[in-house]
Point group: C2
Chain length 218, copies 2
């Protein structure tokens, strides 16, 4: 019996993945790192601490890592006022709450960015608990953020479903034996999400909403 649902936020509930990809690419280019955008896209969803190790060579000048992260954040902040929920995201969250499911947000966004994402969604009145990068020692694919969201919502791993758009969400949930439903609205294909271990894949929150009975049966 499923008692609650934990949601990744970036790419899953708010349409940010492509903006993050292009902003990382621009930040890398400012420091003469050429990283193909499709590679960056596949790394989005890891924490910004891990993205640099995933995408840049180990012998880079690590003194510049903070500048790269700051560059990405500054470029991305230009989009804050333009961000939009994914199709059906708000309706899905509210429908889960109406069905008596506890809703948690398990985001690896930094606190100021996370505040923007919450404003875009405007569902705080039905969210039982939310985490951001400040609540976990290690970002996804480590499970710390998912564990923090469990702690904050009072849910236990054996009665919860995770919903995410990145393979890193699937891996993080898997480390706690939590089934993960994948959404392709972050641009990662159904095949990639299934290969990572997603138990089901939907196009976006709107399509998952249409199958919510299946979700609540677990």
């Amino acid at each position: 019996m499923v008692a609650g649902v934990l949601f990744d936020v970036d790419g899953t509930l708010v349409d940010t993945t492509y903006l993050h990809a292009v902003c990382w690419w621009r930040a890398f280019r400012q420091h003469d790192h050429d990283v193909p955008m499709a590679r960056i896209h596949r790394a989005i969803g890891m924490g910004s601490d891990k993205i640099l190790d995933e995408l840049l060579s180990a012998d880079r000048d690590r003194d510049k890592d903070d500048e790269l992260r700051t560059g990405h954040s500054a470029l991305y902040s230009q989009y804050w006022t333009s961000l939009r929920p994914q199709p059906g995201a708000v309706e899905l969250i509210r429908a889960c709450a109406r069905k008596g499911l506890t809703v948690g947000l398990a985001s690896s966004a930094a606190p100021p960015e996370f505040a923007v994402l919450r404003r875009v969604l405007d569902v705080d009145d039905v969210v039982a608990g939310a985490t951001n990068s400040g609540d976990a020692a290690e970002s996804k694919p480590d499970p710390d953020i998912v564990q923090a969201a469990l702690d904050r919502t009072g849910l236990s791993a054996d009665s919860v479903v995770f919903v995410g758009d990145a393979v890193w969400d699937v891996y993080a949930a898997g480390k706690l034996s939590i089934p993960c439903v994948g959404l392709t609205c972050g641009g990662i294909s159904a095949a990639e999400l299934r290969d990572a271990g997603a138990v089901a894949v939907y196009a976006d929150p709107a399509e998952l909403h249409g199958s919510i009975e299946r979700l609540s049966r677990g």
Copy 2:
């Protein structure tokens, strides 16, 4: 026996797909159209004439279509000086020419954008023929641009391979019974390219270069 190779350019040889996706999204937002970026990404590679019909409702104000296209082009032009070849693109083109394969570029970019892409690649000395949107009545997935590239290079459909990164490339080549090799460097997954009919899938031009013997045997 393969006599030549035709290449899509945007996303296949130059890393532009994500920039196009974000610029279309921004152009749509300027006119209050909300289109999720993953949906836009999957439409990239169609001509700009077809993208609007693919992504916007049929009952939109079509008098604004030209403004939308101009908006996208203006936003995208800000990236012209930052564009980079995909990994191994230049080396692959030159290797094909050294092996005696005729090389053609079959792009649906508009002429000014196409001039920028050719400058980024800097391989005109070994390209036998190139087309842009001005050379075809209908853009991909219609085969007009591929046929124009055949005409311009003197190649025939039964002795050529097409290389592209979008399902629209696979469909366009397929209408002329030309086998299409898919590259995932535009962010479309191997599964999606294979489902569309790609005969083989590689990560990027660099990986295809490593299998060039297989390509030249056809």
